[in-house]
Symmetry: none
Subunit: 419 residues, 2 copies
């Protein structure tokens, strides 16, 4: 089935709030087999809400809204949609009792404005919301049009979606008789250390063959994700096609592949280290703790990760990591010699089998013609084998640090894969 | 002026990507005096893109799109919009040369697919994009319709918006003559270490007096931000009212205030240390590098921040930080005694005047009835003065780590303020 989503809130248009509900709805509805064909965001005002909901109903006859269900004057979704369906608002005594009970539990008198929250469009199904005072509403008319109204507070929206809305959508899909339900499913192949256009040259030849799946290239500071999507296929068919296509992509991507879907490179590296019973220490300069943070983001890292040194001042490179003063003076802090000495120093300090070292110029200051901002030296070491590479990363300070951390983890991943 | 935004990307509808561009556009355009009346999101397919852009042009005659400008087959915005404007795509030789030069600088041959990026709708203004290969495009026709096409990669979108689009919009606005422009402006007062409801008790009495400004409480893992917004006032009036209200809030918030607007607590702490000519070292366990990362996120941190130790394994707490083994055995790694010894150890190791130490249980494993997941000990030390506190933070592993890092910085901020 196809539907449209209308998110309502002036703060969304003004950008004061990032529309995280929209992404959550997208994932949950796609997984339940419903395809969102369009998403519209409008302000908390009757005319734009009316226009957006009416147009969406014309196109897909099924619209889901978020926001504008609170007790205050700027909450007008319910009234507008009731009017579009030709229904008047009536007081729901059961709902009023439950809202009153909620305030009683909190030990507070119910403000008069909350009474309006117990008014619902005649004939609507009330979707109980144990997390707040605004219930969800499900309106359906004789012409087969459906409007589902959810509150905008993320945890309330999520609860109603999972407990009330998705089961109803699944029942409609199958209950309507005829045909197995169709789903929208995606699968992502993650790559790093290779550009979007270089990937396109490798993959281009098979893009036509993987239809009816679609393929999107999604570059970020972590690398390029390749997202395959199956649109409105039967579940089993979608899964089979996605698995086949992902396998083909993985083969074409080769050594740049590091995982699928939500795979995190730090977790991939920790797994590889665990297999080899190797423990890890880190020495980082320009990334300033980010590499260690990436690793310790992974629950259970403590069985493999011993620790890290953020050697921001050169004196710590010599004192804690035993980088020879002569090396620093002869080659500079951002050099192959220094990064190799840092990797050895981290290995020794943490009594670890493996180590990562990063030193570079994240900017905005500190660049020179020979070593511009973005210049980074990376090293990975396993036992006595060290690999060191240099990169000049584009972007601002944040991006250079993110790319450096990812590249340092990738260097160790590649070194471990070779062994 | 009014305009509509169309964000293009299947991954946005499916919720695999949160539409952060949309929020950024909203803030920047509102500040420039332009009002977004609707935002529409559609998939990377010609028909939905055509419909959304055509409808937006009908309503406001000015549409801004993001996404679908890359070199690959799923990037089709340019062709569809050119068709709507009745223009054909022509090769822009200057643009081709600049894309080729970009690849040359990176020392790589230009893949053939990137040539399509040099094709532009006839008569369009090319908005140069130094951050990537997809330029922005500005199309305008004899009927006064405008379409501005920006890439979807956030840093490229942001650069083009600030450098190319906003100045053009400002020139259009004033060029039209008549009336002073009205703006939507916001100002944020940042607090930490105090709950939303405790703040509401302090601030409540003046909420009515700050009208026509509105006040929103925005809690996050960093604390509670208080956002004041002036809606559609003349620039000068808005600025004066916001400044007055921000000053009143600051006085009421007291010691929990740490800055305004984009203020970052790590930068605030570094500034305070600089004033006292004190340098900083960090020892962290459960935050795993996050405290050091927060500090080194700040450009220029290197004059004050010496370094950090991520003492993830207990052996590093004793070896690098000289926490006595008896302390660890008698009181455990998450204890006042240990965190105090860590702060002293960091101060000594880095020869720093000030230090921060963090040790705790970020979960998901490792909790006990006496020390549940979320239990954290924090210490800040300046010269011989140490302050240690314990907290039990709510949330998941990520949230506990974020809250711990922020609270550790705040502890040092308060200690420095007292001196």
């Amino acid at each position: 089935m196809k539907l449209e989503v209308v998110t309502i809130g002036t703060e969304l248009l003004l950008g004061h709030t990032v529309d995280s509900n929209a992404a959550e709805l997208g994932r949950a509805l796609a997984a339940a087999g419903a395809e969102i064909t369009r998403r519209t965001t409008v302000a908390d005002r009757p005319d734009p809400i009316r226009a957006a909901v009416a147009e969406a109903l014309e196109r897909t006859a099924f619209v889901l809204t978020t926001g504008g269900l609170g007790p205050t004057r700027d909450d007008m979704t319910k009234g507008v949609v009731a009017e579009l369906f030709g229904k008047r608002l009536v007081l729901d005594e059961g709902l009023l009792a439950s809202i009153e009970a909620r305030f009683q539990r909190l030990g507070r008198p119910m403000p008069a404005v909350n009474r309006t929250q117990a008014e619902v469009p005649e004939g609507a199904t009330v979707l109980p919301n144990p997390r707040g005072t605004a219930p969800g509403l499900w309106l359906e008319d004789g012409r087969g049009r459906v409007a589902v109204l959810l509150p905008g507070v993320p945890r309330e929206m999520r609860g109603l979606l999972v407990e009330e809305v998705l089961p109803r959508i699944a029942r409609r899909d199958t209950g309507g008789g005829g045909g197995r339900p169709r789903v929208v499913l995606s699968r992502t192949v993650r790559t790093t250390g290779v550009s979007e256009s270089a990937l396109a040259e490798r993959i281009g030849p098979i893009e036509a063959e993987i239809g009816p799946l679609t393929l999107a290239y999604l570059p970020s500071t972590d690398g390029v994700d390749l997202r395959l999507t199956a649109w409105s296929l039967a579940q089993g068919d979608a899964e089979t096609r996605l698995a086949t296509a992902a396998t083909r992509l993985r083969a074409l991507v080769g050594e740049h592949w590091y995982g699928e879907d939500g795979a995190d490179l730090a977790a991939v590296v920790l797994d590889a280290l665990r297999k080899g019973r190797q423990r890890l220490g880190v020495a980082e300069s320009c990334t300033g703790g980010l590499v260690a943070k990436r690793i310790t983001d992974v629950p259970g890292a403590s069985d493999t990760f011993i620790g890290g040194v953020v050697a921001y001042a050169d004196v710590i490179k010599t004192a804690a990591l035993k980088v020879p003063l002569e090396t620093l003076q002869a080659h500079g802090a951002v050099s192959e010699e220094t990064v190799r000495a840092m990797a050895e120093g981290a290995q020794r300090l943490f009594s670890a089998e493996a180590s990562i070292a990063v030193t570079g110029i994240a900017g905005p200051g500190g660049g020179t013609p020979e070593k511009p901002v973005g210049t980074v030296w990376l090293a990975a070491r396993v036992h006595t084998d060290t690999r060191a590479v240099t990169r000049v990363f584009p972007g601002d300070r944040d991006e250079i640090r993110l790319r450096s951390a990812q590249a340092s983890l990738d260097l160790l991943r590649r070194l471990l894969a070779r062994a």
